[in-house]
């Protein structure tokens, strides 16, 4: 008979508060096969784990049940504890009597009864557990970075410096991401391009880094250490090997189009590079607006190109590569505040967003750094800044705070003061949040030295009056409505996830939250990992954050990836499917079910009725199988069993719970 030990945790008062842990331990002794049961204040603590190790030796236990918190939290912890006590870590089950019991059932009596049931369930399952071994698989020592913003570049550089080849896949024609659009960076006001472009150049020149710009990830197959990733290299219509980036083509190109990079404030040609310091500095033809593609005429760029690099016949190219780790750093979008009809965006050209303002003050921007009103290019005297547009607003926008608006609005006010002498800035705010190093001091200087007028209140309406914009709001500190005549209004829009974030998450098989930001494995303990092994996160794609945090996360994600790639062999999980070949009839219905293509047919020969005969049976590739178990239900005869969650174990749990 098995010798099971049950260990009930108090978790301080988290469990002991609403579950009578002593009674649970006492009842556990009566369960079949349980030979030892005790309770302790903190099972997961060092002394707690020692209690388990001692009990294993003293009562020579061969199976352990811990009744404490969620296995998603401490299952690995207790498995390691068992391993150090010389026991197979898979002869272990947890009963979740905290999240699923003590924290949600105030009635102590009923909570205790439920806890006892959960422990009986775990004990019934552990009796059926068999020792399992992890199998090891090889690792492709190569990383893929999706998104070439500052976070992506930093990750690529760190991994490349560690000696592993990295590929950056960037949707836009150039890397640089959002940061390239920004003029100055708070709090030190050093110029964004000055700190970004060297990194971009480092990335382009680093021997270990390959940049695939104007490309997207099409399909991701395989699993940690062995991802097969199909990348679509969109047709640039320019032959990268021949093009020298001389710029003749985009000078001669007759077609002018609104530049997305300049947020529509400036123009670009049909054949263009988004901004001068683009890396790779090779143009792309915008096939939607280029007359050659629209009606077959023109083709001037091809004529004037000295190296004949322009090639209209170029098609999308699909390449499939093997990678060991993936880091997602696809950045963020600005909140589309058209829902706030009252702010008049779209009706009044002089009501612009933060990024528009960044393009205006940028030296390589459409106005060569001079702040001019988009409507009549006059220099504005009075500029009003409106914060929390779309943030902290569950009704119309996003419930969260976008963390960066307070700081970049203060920066904008500082720059308005510097660039337009005698100008006046007003800032409508709810709160001013300055969580970073030197942030509060920077905000103080803006308010005091640069006389930026902070008004605590929300803006209710903006309307045009003559060539002025009337900004009506309320100053909640003095409790009076306020109306300001402004020449220009800058809205600090919320940071939201990319619109295709959901599709990318599905392609990668990672989960995402209600705002489409990618979900980290654990908010506090594993912020840069996802639940899908081998896929890591960096930057704003995981949640709103500023450049310092993004770069810090980039370093963390890179170290995780390096940690994975530095191993020669990787242990694949022991929870995999297993075929009982003597009973398998080879119908292969399981093969069509497996999402990882881990099941295939194999021919075995055996002696039937005196002569050797061949027969087809299913075979599970233990390294591909991720242990989802969908195949076990499709197999009618029950020859496919998922080790760790076998049919017998789950049936035992069902019976124990219904006792």
């Amino acid at each position: 008979m098995r010798r099971v030990g049950v260990f009930v945790c108090h978790c301080g008062s988290n469990i002991a508060g609403t579950v009578d842990v002593e009674r649970v331990a006492k009842e556990a002794c009566k369960f079949p096969n349980v030979v030892f049961a005790t309770d302790y204040k903190y099972m997961c603590s060092e002394p707690g784990q020692q209690v388990i190790k001692d009990a294993i030796k003293e009562h020579n236990l061969d199976r352990v049940v811990v009744a404490s918190c969620s296995p998603r939290m401490h299952e690995p912890t207790f498995r390691r504890c068992l391993e150090s006590a010389g026991m197979n870590p898979y002869l272990f089950e947890m009963a979740n009597i905290r999240e699923h019991c003590s924290w949600v059932h105030p009635d102590k009596e009923k909570g205790t009864v439920k806890a006892i049931d959960l422990v009986r369930k775990a004990a019934a399952k552990v009796v059926k557990d068999e020792p399992l071994q992890k199998s090891s698989i090889g690792i492709t020592k190569r990383a893929l970075v999706i998104g070439g913003g500052i976070a992506g570049i930093q990750v690529a550089l760190d991994i490349a410096d560690a000696g592993f080849p990295v590929t950056i896949v960037e949707k836009e024609p150039t890397i640089g991401g959002r940061m390239a659009q920004i003029d100055k960076t708070f709090p030190t006001l050093d110029c964004s391009a000055c700190i970004l472009t060297p990194k971009m150049v480092d990335a382009s020149q680093h021997p270990n880094i390959e940049i695939l710009s104007y490309s997207e990830v099409e399909k991701v197959e395989g699993y940690v250490g062995n991802f097969n990733i199909t990348i679509r290299k969109k047709a640039r219509s320019v032959d990268m090997s021949k093009c020298t980036g001389c710029g003749t083509c985009w000078e001669k190109c007759p077609t002018k189009v609104d530049s997305e990079f300049d947020m529509g404030l400036g123009k670009r040609k049909a054949i263009y590079t988004p901004f001068p310091q683009a890396v790779p500095n090779k143009p792309v033809i915008d096939r939607i607006h280029c007359t050659k593609f629209k009606n077959g005429k023109c083709g001037i760029c091809q004529k004037f190109c000295p190296t004949g690099a322009v090639d209209f016949e170029q098609q999308d190219e699909l390449i499939t590569e093997k990678y060991g780790a993936i880091v997602v750093s696809t950045g963020f979008n600005q909140f589309d505040h058209s829902v706030y009809g009252e702010y008049g965006y779209g009706k009044y050209p002089d009501v612009i967003t933060g990024l528009h303002f960044e393009r205006l003050i940028n030296a390589s921007g459409p106005t060569m750094g001079k702040i001019k009103r988009p409507s009549d290019h006059k220099i504005p005297e009075t500029v009003v800044f409106v914060k929390c547009v779309g943030s902290r607003d569950e009704a119309k926008g996003k419930s969260y705070c976008s963390r960066t608006c307070c700081m970049y609005t203060a920066k904008h006010a500082t720059l308005v003061h510097e660039k337009i002498p005698g100008s006046k800035s007003y800032i409508f705010y709810m709160d001013v949040r300055t969580p970073g190093k030197g942030y509060e001091e920077f905000y103080k200087r803006t308010a005091e030295e640069y006389e930026a007028q902070y008004i605590r209140g929300r803006v209710s309406k903006i309307y045009q009056k003559g060539d002025k914009l009337m900004v009506r709001g309320e100053d909640s500190l003095i409790g009076r409505p306020v109306e300001i005549e402004a020449d220009m209004v800058v809205l600090a829009n919320a940071m939201v996830a990319r619109e295709d974030a959901g599709d990318l998450a599905r392609t990668l098989g990672i989960s995402y939250d209600k705002d489409n930001f990618f979900t980290e494995a654990h908010p506090k303990l594993r912020p840069v990992e996802t639940h899908t092994a081998g896929v890591f996160l960096a930057g704003a794609c995981q949640g709103p954050k500023d450049i310092p945090d993004s770069v810090a996360q980039a370093g963390a994600a890179a170290s995780k990836a390096i940690g994975l790639l530095s191993k020669t062999q990787m242990e694949s999980d022991a929870i995999v499917s297993n075929v009982d070949e003597s009973r398998c009839s080879g119908c292969m219905i399981c093969k069509g079910i497996c999402p990882y293509k881990a099941i295939d047919a194999k021919i075995i020969t055996e002696r039937i009725g005196g002569k050797m005969a061949e027969r087809q049976v299913a075979e599970v590739n233990k390294s591909l199988c991720q242990g989802c178990g969908a195949c076990t239900v499709a197999c009618r005869a029950g020859c496919l069993n998922l080790l760790g969650f076998t049919n017998e174990q789950i049936l035992a749990e069902v019976e124990a719970v219904c006792l």
Partner: protein, 333 residues
């Protein structure tokens, strides 16, 4: 001979039901079987029931003992309660013989099965004779059964057309006829002639012949069409193979015995996987040899009373009379 008019039978049954736990052949919806009598209920005294009376004494599932475990300790308690006195009314001679053969198995050879015995000793048997094949598939006459009369009962009723002729076959039978004499009147009777049977297999000397036919290719041919289901064995009044298994729920549990069929594939499979009868050929051969050779060798009777149930319900019309004919036609070297 004492006779009773058929129309008074239901009244007689009402009386009996007061004293006995009365079981009668019913043909309500679903298959015809022996079921507790409900006055005015569906009683069908012509033809034989599809389900044999064997499960009156040897139920398909029967709890033997319950047990409880507590860590290493444990206790068990037999679940043997003798049923109230019961009467099995309207059994056909072929079924009477089958009961007699089950007695061989469960009550002799050194061990007595109390579960069977406790029911068998408390059952008063009343049989009704047939004047010919009740179903087209009947062939009891050729298997040594007198369709009109059976002896190993308490009371036998001859079918005389509009009335029954009652003959006591045991003291209990005598007492029964005394007790219910009001229903009977004395009359001279003339047994009707037994009508012709369609199936007349000749079983003369078949046991001896089969002793040399274990490896004969006949079995390969015969067994090909069998599906290996258990219909024949579960409908057969004489088949008595059973399995012992248990059910555990936490610390409580019980052990039960239930019908099993030698035709099932895992019937003789041992723990290590070795199976002395791995394919249909061995299993079909074993079933017919058990009925026509092994049982006669051991107990003296053929283990087939010619009721024809297996013949009528076999999905592929496996016909024991045809197999007997084929065995007869085989010339041994």
């Amino acid at each position: 001979m004492k006779t009773v008019v058929k129309s008074k039978i239901s009244a007689l049954l009402d009386e009996i039901a007061k004293e006995f736990n009365l079981l009668v052949p019913t043909a309500g919806d679903g298959a015809s079987k022996f079921a507790p009598y409900t006055s005015g209920g569906q009683v069908s005294l012509d033809g034989r029931t599809l389900l044999p009376p064997k499960d009156v004494f040897f139920p398909q599932t029967e709890k033997m003992y319950k047990f409880s475990t507590d860590g290493m300790a444990g206790s068990l308690e037999t679940l043997l309660e003798a049923p109230k006195h019961q009467m099995l009314f309207g059994v056909r001679p072929c079924d009477v013989k089958s009961i007699h053969e089950l007695d061989h198995v469960f009550l002799t050879k050194g061990f007595v099965d109390e579960f069977y015995q406790s029911k068998r000793d408390r059952t008063f048997l009343v049989s009704i004779g047939c004047n010919g094949p009740a179903e087209p598939t009947c062939f009891c006459q050729s298997m040594g059964v007198n369709p009109q009369e059976s002896d190993a009962v308490d009371v036998h009723l001859f079918d005389l057309g509009s009335e029954y002729g009652a003959v006591a076959k045991s003291e209990n039978g005598e007492a029964f006829l005394q007790k219910y004499a009001s229903f009977f009147n004395e009359a001279e009777v003339q047994l009707p002639a037994i009508s012709e049977f369609a199936l007349k297999p000749d079983v003369e000397g078949i046991t001896e012949k089969l002793q040399q036919m274990f490896d004969h290719p006949l079995w390969e041919e015969v067994s090909r069409k069998c599906l290996g289901c258990g219909a024949c064995t579960y409908l057969c009044p004489t088949c008595h193979c059973f399995d012992i298994s248990g059910r555990v729920a936490g610390n409580q549990g019980f052990k039960f015995r239930c019908w099993d069929s030698c035709m099932f594939s895992e019937y003789t499979r041992m723990a290590g996987g070795h199976n002395p009868r791995p394919s249909k050929k061995e299993r079909v051969r074993n079933r017919f040899l058990h009925k026509l050779q092994y049982f006669p060798e051991r107990y003296g009777d053929l283990l087939c009373t010619g009721c024809g149930r297996c013949l009528s319900k076999c999905p592929v019309n496996m016909d024991i009379t045809n197999i007997i004919k084929q065995i007869r036609e085989v010339e041994l070297a």
